[in-house]
Amino acid sequence: MSEKGAPFRYPERIKEAFLASGDLTFGDGTTVSTAQMWEFLTEEGPRRFPAAFTRDPFSGGLSPDVDFLAGVKRYYWAFTGFDRFKARHKNGAPIVAVQAGSPLEIYYAARCLVVGPGFPVGWLLQQSTGLSREEMQRRLAAIRNECKKSMPAECCTIVAPFNAVHTSQTPIDFAAPITMTACSDAMFTIESARRVENNIPSFVVDFPVNHQAGSWRAEYLASQLRMLAARLGKLSGVTVTDEVMAAEIKRQNQLRRLARECTELWWNAEVPPANSGDRGILGMCSADAHNYPVVMQLLTEARAEIQHRLARGIRGRGLHHNPVRLFVCGSCAAVNAFMIEQAGGVVVGHEEGLSLLYMDTKEDGDPFMNMAEALCDLPYERPPEQRAAWTAQKVKESRADGVIFVYNWGCNYQSSISRMVTEIIKAQAGVPTLTIDISQSGQMTNAEQARTRIEAFMEILDRNRSVSRQAAFSCR
């Protein structure tokens, strides 16, 4: 029997400070006041999403750091995201399925609503509001089982649920992944879309993954990106000219620069100023035109709060004193940050997300060629040796004590290179590594085994740190 969680409420003591923080303004000019957000987070939200407003004994739930107001505000944005999404779709914005981990400039330039493989499950879950944590878990398991029935067993845990589109209950207008190595299973998305009963139009951008040098690579990709832009534009009614594309690149570059600044502030802090979950907000580096001003604002407010905490040596709530710092590698890599924090750790970064964060796209010249070159040079898409070297550098910059490489069952490319990548990181960054395979049925089935592996690994890292400290002390 699952353990019941306690209800989570935002305390009244933060209300005044929250109300004094900034309102959120979306790309269409609509503004949500802090009072409206507070009402949602304390009244409507707990009613509609009781599962989220429950302290889950296994995954934690909402961040306990209620004084990190940008973090609190981002929950309003997240919980109401589906409402805005549905409204925009109703107003004609097409929903486009993409590959997980893709840069999204081209889709955003065409004013499309972009969804990853997990979208259909999220959509189906959203059809029933007011579910308790236990009801939500049962519903999720039922949806996943239903989705997997007609999907080959080798399809990964993340992509398999995309098959929910075959029930025709999920509104996908177009499937258009860029087939990068980040995901070996993107073609299952296409397979689901192309099923006779769906007949969802699709377009595959053939990403040149053979890592050969030469300008042909970027030229080939750029030509396909132009074709993709034309298809997307036809669907949305927005012509993606060079100017439109260039403006989108510029916008995402601005976002990345700010997110990088925030991330590096956190990394360089003597005491981690935000917990693992709230640190995630600092790495938000992608947003469409509608959400862009909000994400910029959340990042700006988060930066100010981080700076405030840095000046006063405030540690993020939920973290142990001097936590073990873990860097996570792999695609769709999800580790239970709550569990890691309970065991005395903190997650300092995710390789795939950081690769997108550190993607630099040129702003002068042919924007499609610039985009293609940036994609080809994406650290995560480089040959494994180069990718590992880049990651080892980020492991050092983030001052991680150890690295966990996580991959899902069926994620063929990531599983095949995981040991090679971790061996290189171990040699170049000088930290221990651990490789974890998430089973076919998802994390739930082997949660205890995964917990044991990760905690035992953290015990080694903690021991290593205390030995290093003692050695340093002896030297003095």
Partner: protein, 200 residues
């Protein structure tokens, strides 16, 4: 100190420590020269490398598959309709080994039933089963390397046949404590609790 799967549910404990660290400390307490631990329990199999102070230097685990675990032996005992405790002794004679080709518990069970039907004796088949488990462990051990004295813990260490097969496959003696091998982790937790208490 609480350890093992479900340690977080022991609300009376002041600290939880994984069984990997606890096995290391328990083995070091019983046999200080231990540098490698093979721990085979009911549902997983671990190989742990230790430093000279009994601290975990590295580890590797199989937790995805029943192959090479105590559960595998339970299935085999059921095939031969004998209690689990008697399985090891059944392979103590001079009969030649019959290799078991399937790693998967389900397929291995089918293979063994076929071997029985073919007229192979239980002793030969069981030697093949134990060697199959030992080979599986050796494969896991090869990821972190086997050094120094090898200590065998967990319920499967009570099986004489697996101990013999492990010594043969690893090509070195394997130390099995007189102390109940199933309680090495608990012993380690007690040792760590004493250390923590002394520091407090």
């Amino acid at each position: 100190v609480a350890t093992g799967y479900g340690r977080i549910t022991a609300k009376f404990a002041t600290k939880t420590i994984t069984e990997i660290t606890c096995h290391a400390r328990g083995a070091h307490y019983l046999h200080p020269a231990t540098r490698t631990i093979v721990d085979i329990g009911g549902q997983d199999c671990k190989v742990i490398r230790l430093d000279e102070d009994g601290n975990v230097a590295d580890f590797a685990m199989n937790d995805k598959c029943a192959a090479g675990t105590g559960r595998f032996l339970e299935v085999i005992a059921n095939v031969f309709k004998v209690p689990l405790e008697e399985l090891g002794e059944m392979a103590g004679g001079d009969a030649p080994l019959v290799p078991i080709n399937n790693t998967c518990t389900v397929f291995a069970e089918t293979e063994i039933i076929s071997l029985v039907a073919r007229g192979e004796c239980a002793e030969s088949i069981l030697k093949g089963v134990f060697t199959s488990i030992a080979s599986r462990v050796a494969g896991i051990a090869s990821r972190i390397g086997v050094n120094g004295d090898v200590f065998f813990s967990g319920g499967v260490a009570k099986n004489f046949g697996v101990v013999t097969a492990l010594e043969s496959v690893l090509n070195c003696p394997v130390f099995v404590p007189d102390f109940d091998p199933q309680l090495v982790g608990a012993l380690g937790a007690a040792v760590l609790a004493r250390e923590l208490g002394a520091r407090a």
